[in-house]
């Protein structure tokens, strides 16, 4: 990374004074403004309960599903506010995919139909099209070789690590521009974790990735930029190596020392 030329990367997403309030009282995140760069991995770190998930979910309008959550401020995708009333959240979510903390295969669907779900359910039925998408998504998620002979078995028959890669493949199949991942390896064993970290390095060639992690080493291993959150506020946002080796904020230093000692 240090050998790269210091050209300014292109901004893919950007928030401006983004605030999420739960039940009109609890502020999950407070006035966060930060960029997420194109084809880079941005990590969110911070102690639990500091608003990482809340912030991540505001980036693809996931809070629409929760009547108790209210979002203020802007979140731009390619310069366009995704909270603009004229914008259809369905279109936004198609461009901004999500991978959840726990693997979430559709239990009644086969591996194939899990990956194809996003396309099948909007009416794409052509077998050759779906076959191509499924294979590519599974290859991109580094799962193809393990499942190519059992595409018809239920998604629930895979191991936890495989299920999480299946979830990634499913998100990739609809060709999003950005993928949001909320602690995607927190329920996985070290082997599966390594696989997914390697996968992220491959994927960032095609998509912009935002990843929440409570694991500092993981943030250092996978991310280009890191944002440190503390009780709902964005304390510091820097290139990952800068944030970990030479943080500007006192609170970041304290947190890193506490976390590493």
């Amino acid at each position: 990374m240090s050998s790269e030329k210091q050209t300014n990367p292109e901004i893919r997403m950007e928030t401006l004074g983004l605030t999420v309030t739960y039940n009109k009282t609890v502020q999950g995140v407070k006035g966060v403004s930060m960029p997420m760069y194109n084809n880079k991995v941005t990590a969110f770190i911070g102690p639990s309960g500091c608003g990482k998930t809340t912030f991540l979910r505001s980036l693809n309008r996931m809070h629409d599903l929760l009547p108790e959550a209210e979002v203020e401020g802007k979140a731009l995708l390619d310069g366009e506010d995704i909270y603009d009333p004229r914008i259809d959240p369905v279109v936004i979510r198609r461009k901004i995919g999500m991978v959840f903390q726990k693997p979430t295969p559709f239990p009644t669907r086969s591996i194939y139909d899990n990956v194809a779900a996003g396309l099948q359910l909007v009416g794409i039925k052509k077998k050759d099209v779906l076959d191509g998408v499924v294979e590519r998504a599974l290859r991109d998620a580094a799962l193809w070789d393990e499942v190519k002979d059992r595409l018809r078995s239920p998604g629930g028959s895979l191991s936890g690590g495989q299920q999480q890669r299946l979830s990634i493949a499913r998100a990739l199949a609809v060709e999003p521009e950005v993928i949001l991942m909320d602690e995607p390896t927190s329920s996985l064993d070290p082997m599966s974790t390594t696989k997914i970290e390697e996968l992220i390095q491959e994927l960032k060639k095609q998509v912009t990735i935002v990843i929440v992690t409570h694991n500092m080493q993981q943030a250092q291993r996978v991310s280009d930029y890191t944002a440190f959150f503390y009780v709902g506020e964005l304390v510091e946002f820097s290139p990952t190596s800068v944030l970990f080796n030479n943080p500007t904020e006192e609170r970041t230093k304290e947190y890193l020392q506490g976390a590493f000692s």
Partner: protein, 295 residues
């Protein structure tokens, strides 16, 4: 010492539970046994193939049977199910998935009202709505009355089953860029299917045993008919009228009819159980786990 005390308490509890269970189960078996003992003698080929006709048929030993009531029950109950299913499932979905929708409180009130309403009133409602307006008793009116019985049960059970399907299903669906209704219909509903089917079966069986709503609607018919616009016989209503008739031959037929009604409900549950088990197995991916691949 202490351990022995615990064992003793354990045993007392167990005996209590078994005793109470027996208290519930024994009367049930007594009733079933009583019905079978009294009714089995009346069951013969004619019973299933002949119309009831006038009382003289039974008294003179001429062929008579309950085919009209058996066929009628199947027709009326299935049509009732067809009426109740869309409304019941739709209100269940509204109550569970769209709590903030303005129509939801309306649907909730209707469901609770119907749920608490005695079945006779369902009959009266169908009488006022259908019989009055179409100019006579009919199988269709009976189906409407039974649909009133089924709908709130289906709605309630659908709502509670949907509520226990994992929340993540909805989030994943939305995150794939699917519209909300698509997520509900294509992802949430299929995941809840075994539970929904169970609820529907309970509603069906419950309605199948109701006589009161049918008295003022499908009314009854001593002869076989397939015309849903005419009065039609059903087992529960026929059992009632056989039982209060002054003819002991008809009383005997009533017991036979009771066995058929019992069988009807039991077969419903049995078939339902098998179907639901299959669905659940599929949902859990057990088929694949039963026979794991070598690699």
């Amino acid at each position: 010492m202490n351990l022995q005390l615990r064992y003793a308490r354990d045993r007392v509890m167990l005996i209590g539970i078994v005793g109470l269970t027996l208290l519930v189960v024994v009367p049930l078996f007594l009733i079933i046994g009583y019905v079978i003992v009294n009714g089995i003698g009346g069951l013969n080929w004619n019973f299933f193939t002949q119309e009831l006709g006038s009382p003289s048929r039974a008294m003179l030993g001429r062929p008579t049977g309950l085919v009209a009531a058996i066929v009628g029950t199947i027709i009326i109950d299935l049509i009732a199910l067809a009426f109740a299913l869309p409304f019941g499932i739709a209100s269940g979905i509204m109550m569970s998935e769209y709590p903030e929708h303005p129509f939801t409180p309306v649907s909730r009130i209707m469901v609770s009202t119907l749920n608490g309403m005695p079945a006779v009133l369902m009959g009266l409602m169908a009488y006022a709505l259908v019989v009055k307006n179409t100019g006579g008793f009919s199988a269709l009116a009976g189906s409407v009355a039974l649909a009133f019985v089924m709908t709130p049960i289906i709605a309630r059970s659908t709502e509670s089953v949907l509520r226990i399907t994992p929340w993540s299903l909805r989030e994943v669906g939305l995150s794939l860029g699917l519209p909300r209704w698509k997520v509900t219909l294509s992802l949430v509903l299929p995941a809840a299917r075994p539970g929904i089917v169970t609820g529907v079966l309970i509603a069906f069986a419950r309605a199948a045993g109701e006589a009161a709503p049918l008295m003022l609607t499908s009314f009854g018919n001593n002869f076989l008919t397939f015309n849903v616009r005419s009065p039609m016989d059903t087992l529960p209503q026929r059992l009632y009228s056989l039982a209060i008739s002054p003819y002991k031959e008809w009383h005997a037929m009533g017991w036979g009819g009771a066995i058929i009604l019992l069988l009807f409900v039991m077969i419903t549950f049995f078939v339902g159980r098998v179907v639901v088990d299959r669905m659940e197995k599929r949902a859990l991916g057990l088929q694949a786990m039963d026979k794991p691949k070598k690699n």
